[in-house]
């Protein structure tokens, strides 16, 4: 299958490893990956901060960039959530654009959804001999309803010791600009999430959202805990020790 990668602005700017891993994984599974260079951002930050007018050109850009492809995959539940639940609504003043946005959104997938639902694989041939806990992230859980798909993928990884995260479904406190606008509340939520991660005695906290990982990882780094945050794609792309 020919798959268009929607990298997301955050992965592009801060954590390209998640994007590279997504490409390596999909290619290893025998698919052709393309990177449409016109892409920038889904506009979620602008919509969620109260700037739908500023987001509209970004939504138009997303639609025009990805319209030619039969499948678009992004290593981010949050950005896919925005594409599916916000694009058509924000573009409602331009019905033609809204219809096109809805059509592209229906072909845009979060990575674990794409692997399990579209490609029909749970064993991607990965090997990752580490103790791992998984934070499901709010938008994957509640906007996309990915359910246990990421866990099903992780359970098939050779050598991986998957430990349950207490209070997994609770928000880590990132919330986009919430982390800056309400830094104290965000930090209080993060503190509880970090405690849960540390309680599992995992070496690695994984998730399918670079934004939440940036938040949790930033806190764990500040406390010098030695626990790493890793994107699901990086684990699934790994052939470590095999």
């Amino acid at each position: 299958m020919r798959i268009a990668l929607f990298l997301t602005c955050l992965v592009d700017a801060v954590v390209p490893a998640a994007g590279k891993a997504t490409v390596e994984l999909l290619e290893r599974l025998g698919h052709e990956v393309v990177f449409p260079p016109g892409q920038t951002c889904c506009g979620q930050m602008h919509v969620n901060t109260g700037y739908p007018g500023e987001a509209l050109p970004l939504i138009r850009r997303y639609v025009e960039t990805f319209e030619p492809y039969e499948a678009v995959v992004a290593p981010s539940g949050s950005c896919v959530g925005s594409v599916r639940h916000q694009h058509a609504a924000v573009a409602s003043g331009d019905p033609a654009l809204a219809a096109r946005a809805a059509a592209v959104a229906a072909r845009t997938y979060e990575l674990s959804e794409f692997l399990v639902d579209v490609l029909g694989v749970t064993d991607v041939g990965a090997s990752y001999p580490h103790r791992v806990t998984y934070h499901p992230t709010c938008h994957s859980l509640r906007l996309l309803r990915v359910g246990d798909k990421p866990l099903r993928l992780l359970r098939e990884v050779r050598g991986l010791d998957l430990v349950e995260l207490p209070g997994a479904e609770e928000c880590c406190g990132f919330g986009g600009t919430f982390a800056v606008k309400n830094a104290d509340t965000s930090t209080a939520m993060l503190a509880d999430k970090m405690r849960a991660v540390l309680d599992t005695r995992a070496e690695v906290c994984a998730a399918s959202d670079s934004s939440c990982l940036l938040h949790i990882g930033g806190g764990l780094s500040r406390l010098r805990t030695g626990v790493r945050t890793v994107h699901l794609a990086e684990i699934l792309a790994s052939r470590e020790g095999s």
Binding site: P16, P37, T49, Y51, G176, F178, A179, N182, L214, G218
Partner: protein, 481 residues
């Protein structure tokens, strides 16, 4: 000729706004006792609710029915309110209409004064809290006694409610014992000197204190959970029976009710009497459901219908579903922000996620500009809401309505500009690489200037990557995509 002055908003006397949320939250977060009380209480109610909701096989259908009945009610509100007025009047009650808090307080004060009473008993009512009725009565020399146990604790503690359903959620047993010992004797029957902090002992002290109030009272003021338009029936749903005492004992009963509390027919109550107790207290059924239609023999009944910003909410197609709210507080109990800050941080008597959408709509968004941001948009509230109010989408909608700080607007515009073309975006990424210099010694960024200092106050940032994804792609896959 009449002049249309716009839809009435909540007036300044109403208790719907306070200090900016981030500021108020900071104080709450620093209070470790409060954090522990809230964390324990919300976790307990959350688990109970999940258990009893899980027992109902048709919960999704009930929830959809609840939403549909409320939407139908809101769509026909003027007609149904007139129907309610006619039914209440036909059964010997008197209906009063109040545009805002000032009008409602004036109406209720005059009604109490007409009876000659200088004391009233109250059964928990959000509407009277919203309009500051107790303060208005006090100014007129009338003492109003809360009779709901939690409200009593809040009132005796000279405090304000911190939760819709459990107003004293922020207090623990030891604190309640202190309040009872210190305050009860000053306003009525004192607490026993040997009072312990065991729940039965505390409940017994409250019961004896309140019994005296019920027997003395000539006037009662209640809220209403529901009003049935077709029969003029008012209903109060509660756990302690104090509401029933309030409604039946005094000679004059005054009910203050928001105009959205209607259901069209008696049959519609069936849906809500299932949704409400399971969502709010995690009970299969609430212990006491009182219903009355008009005035009963020997009692005078007044119904005050309160707008105070509600028609303004109704006028916004993207916000009006907030009026479906049945005040169950399920959204508070699942909200991670509420759990850390408690209700006082919201500055409104409607705290938590529903307060964050309802209060700014009732006052006008500029009066409550920080509340729509008091959420990480995690979506737990939407999942929990028994009438399916899409609170996260409503918060996002309200964020586009509030005034934005000039500096923020400039940043958001320039980021959008940079993202407007891949060429400009590539330049921005290249510039961000300069950030590598800032943290090159430690391999991470630990201090950034405002507004990003909000991030680095508690979190590191990784250094911008040495090779961007685009460069890696070109190196490994070539230019042609």
């Amino acid at each position: 000729m009449t002049v249309f002055l716009g839809l009435p908003r909540a007036d300044p006397e109403s208790h719907l706004h306070g200090a900016p949320f981030p500021q108020a939250a900071r104080a709450a977060i620093a209070d470790t006792q409060l954090r522990r009380n809230l964390g324990n209480a919300t976790a307990t109610i959350r688990a109970k609710r999940a258990r009893v909701v899980g027992e109902v096989p048709d919960w999704a259908a009930l929830r959809a029915a609840g939403a549909a009945i409320k939407d139908d009610t809101l769509a026909r509100l003027p007609e149904l309110l007139v129907q309610l007025e006619e039914a209440v009047t036909a059964r010997g009650g008197t209906v009063h209409w109040a545009r805002d808090a000032t009008e409602a307080n004036r109406i209720v004060t005059a009604l109490v004064q007409a009876t000659g009473a200088d004391e009233v008993v109250k059964v928990k009512s959000m509407a009277t809290q919203e309009i500051g009725l107790n303060e208005a009565l006090e100014a007129a020399g009338i003492a109003a006694w809360e009779t709901d146990l939690a409200e009593l604790i809040v009132q005796l503690g000279h405090d304000t409610p911190s939760h819709i359903l459990v107003p004293a959620i922020h207090r623990n047993r030891a604190e309640i014992r202190e309040i009872f010992l210190r305050e009860m004797g000053r306003v009525g029957l004192p607490a026993p000197a040997d009072l312990t902090d065991s729940p039965p002992a505390l409940a017994d002290a409250a019961r004896r204190h309140l019994r005296q109030k019920f027997l003395d009272a000539r006037v009662a003021i209640s809220g209403a959970n529901f009003a049935v338009a077709s029969t003029g029936t008012l209903s109060v749903v509660e756990s302690e029976g104090n509401g029933r005492m309030c409604i039946t004992l005094p000679r004059t009963l005054i009910t203050v009710m928001g105009i959205e509390k209607l259901v069209p027919t008696w049959q519609d109550l069936e849906v809500f009497l299932q949704l409400l107790p399971r969502s709010s207290t995690g009970e299969r059924m609430n212990p006491y459901t009182s219903m009355w239609s008009g005035a009963v023999e020997g009692q005078e009944f007044h119904l005050v219908l309160l707008d105070n910003g509600r028609t303004a909410v109704l006028s916004d197609p993207e916000g009006r579903a907030a009026l479906r709210c049945i005040r169950c507080s399920a959204c508070l109990n699942v909200c991670p922000v509420y759990e850390r800050t408690g209700g006082h941080a919201y500055g409104s008597i409607y705290p938590g996620p529903i307060g964050a959408v309802l209060s700014p709509q009732m006052t006008g968004p500029s009066q409550n500009s920080t509340l729509p941001y008091a959420s990480s948009l995690c979506g737990a509230c939407y999942d929990a809401c028994p009438v399916a109010i899409d609170i996260p989408s409503m918060l996002v909608h309200l964020r586009s309505q509030v005034p934005h700080p000039a500096a923020e607007r400039a940043v958001m515009r320039s980021v959008a500009y940079a993202m407007g073309s891949p060429r400009r975006w590539a330049v921005a990424l290249a510039v961000s690489k300069a950030g590598r210099l800032l943290g090159r010694r430690r391999g991470r960024l630990s201090t950034l200037p405002p507004p990003l200092s909000g991030w680095t106050s508690s979190r590191d940032l990784p250094l911008p990557p040495a090779e961007s994804f685009r460069d890696w792609w070109t190196r490994t896959h070539g230019d042609g995509s």
